[in-house]
Amino acid sequence: MEQPRDGVVGIGRDRLDLEAALELDREVAARPGPVVVDLARATSFTGAGAAALIHLLRERGTEVRFRGASEDLKRYLRELPLSEIVAADCLGCGIEEEPLLATAGGGFFELVAAARYFVALGLELAYWTVLAPFRGVKLRFGKLVTELNRIGVDAIPIVGLIAALMGVILALNSAGQLRAYGAEKYTANLVGIALTRELAPVITAILVAGRSGSAIAAEIATMNVSDEVDALRVMGINPRAFLLVPKLLAITLAMPVLVVLSSLVGIAGGFVVAVFGLHIPFEVYWEQTIRALHVQDLVLGSAKALVFGALIGLTGCTLGMRVKGGATGVGRVTTTAVVTSYVLVILANTFFTLVFFMAGW
């Protein structure tokens, strides 16, 4: 930096770049009152350097004067909307945070709107499953089969694996406790009932929510942000009937099948551990399982699964259709869909268990 005279700050480099500008900024900030910035030495400039001069104009207003600026630099500044940039209160580069109350209020209204959409979509699902077949309305079977494959068939390996392991864990834990009372053979009852009535529906729902609920939300949200859903609307194709209903139907129908399968595989897992690991005789385990399990248990488990499937599907579809913002929005609704599905499934399961308990089922 050159030794400045009083009130004059000189640029110490040939080039007015960001480094030179930062030095100028420091020098000028150290001098209260009117100041002259001598730019004569700078034969060239960069955009960042020129921007720093505008920053000085914003900070010091008419207190700052510039001399020796090259014609190039002046021309560059003339081409900018200089007066607007200098006068603007905030350049608006940062994202303004909304006041807390406004955020909470907006969140509440969004929740109400989403809940209304969720219910309307639920009614539409009911229409398509219960009424439409009798009214001769065309259901998109091709799409339904594709979705059934994606949501149901493709999920079988992971659902089977987790169910088998759950059976193993249940059998080992319960046998350990029951052995103390010489009641090891009741391991079969515990594994069978716990799996069919509670664990298989809930664990399968959690897997399906993570696998397919998230995929539904992400796919529909992506289609929304890339205008694909609007394109369907403009073509006169109802996006709910075209996109959402096949997915909703598929997930609702796939869940009970997956749950029955998961119950059976889980029981088989428990069976293998009990018979080969804990040496409970094969016939005893088999007989106990048959005695403990009623068709009613499988039916109740499947009924729950049906509702869980609908809840997961409706959550994914609702959030996907109500996405806001681009890629960030898609990511947000995807995680929200999974978490919301978990909460709804556990709430619904608590409700079912209470009702079944009070009804003595």
């Binding site: 104009l57 008419t62 700052v64 004067r65 510039f66 001399r67 020796g68 600026a69 002046k74 500044l77 003339r78 081409e79 900018l80 909307p81 200089l82 007066s83 607007e84 200098v86 065309k138 289609m223 890339s226 205008d227 694909e228 609007d230 394109a231 369907l232 609307r233 403009v234 073509m235 006169g236 194709i237 109802n238």
Partner: protein, 266 residues
């Protein structure tokens, strides 16, 4: 198809906002007559895409009247909206082709909604529409395999597939090089020559607007500042229109900057 020259879009006193207090469209009046190409032009964020979305019924107006093809778009219920939309076509900015379907299936989608059409006829229509926009042999490709210009052409072919009476375009040439953009302009004019379709185009591409338009609407900050034939817009003396159309800083803005330089630069 109705008479040439009769109004197909009639907008009066249209107001629209996205939930907050800021009006995106403020007291917009507009008439588009059958067979003409009207371009809505304006800087980014002036409300032109919103106006298009209102016209096509994707957004509901807050106030005023919007009649398109004789229908009040604010009053459409779901069934009439679907029927109405099958009479209009829309080309989205980025094509909005369904990425999970092939280009051919994208075009066939609205046709297959009509169960009376045999699959063979559907495929003939698809191929001929693709050929019309200069795309051949891409039926089996996925949209992601096409270039930006090809996606826009495919989007145009899909919009044409139901023989719409009215065609809307959202930024048809944005993101295209000048040669491809000029090619798309020629395609648009070619489609109009053959089908006499009415077109409403939203763009900020000046050369394109002046090439294809019968009339140009200049929309600035949600208000219409000028309507007229391209020559009339060029001759318009409204400073805001001059700034946009001639791509020159307006007198007010440059004076402000000049004043600072004159005052504070020796």
């Amino acid at each position: 198809m109705g008479r040439a020259g009769e109004p197909v879009v009639e907008v009066a006193g249209l107001r629209f906002s996205y939930g907050d207090d800021r009006l995106v469209l403020d007291d917009v009046d507009l008439e588009v007559r059958r067979g003409e190409i009207v371009t809505i032009m304006g800087p980014s964020g002036c409300g032109k895409t919103t106006l298009l979305r209102v016209l096509v019924g994707l957004e509901l107006p807050d106030g005023g009247s919007v009649r398109v093809l004789g229908q009040e778009v604010g009053d459409l219920d779901e069934d009439t909206a679907d029927r109405f939309r099958r009479r209009v076509g829309m080309c989205f900015q980025f094509g909005a082709l369904l990425n999970s379907l092939t280009v051919g299936d994208n075009l066939a989608l609205p046709l297959r909604e009509d169960a009376r059409l045999p699959e063979d006829l559907v495929s003939v229509i698809v191929r001929s529409r693709l050929a019309q926009v200069g795309l051949q042999g891409v039926e089996a490709k996925l949209p992601n395999e096409l270039s930006g210009g090809m996606k826009k052409r495919a989007g145009l072919a899909r919009a044409l597939v139901l023989d719409p009476e009215l065609l809307f375009f959202d930024e048809p040439t944005s993101g295209l090089d000048p040669v491809t953009a000029a090619g798309l302009d020629r395609t648009i004019l070619d489609v109009r020559r053959r089908t006499a379709t009415t077109m409403v185009v939203v763009t900020h591409d000046l050369p394109s607007a002046f090439t294809i338009s019968d009339r140009i609407v200049v929309l600035i900050a949600g208000r219409i500042r000028a309507i007229g034939a391209p020559k009339e817009i060029e001759a318009c003396d409204d400073p805001a229109v001059v700034e946009f159309v001639r791509r020159r800083a307006s007198a007010a803005a440059s004076d402000g900057g000049e004043a600072i330089i004159a005052r504070q630069f020796d």
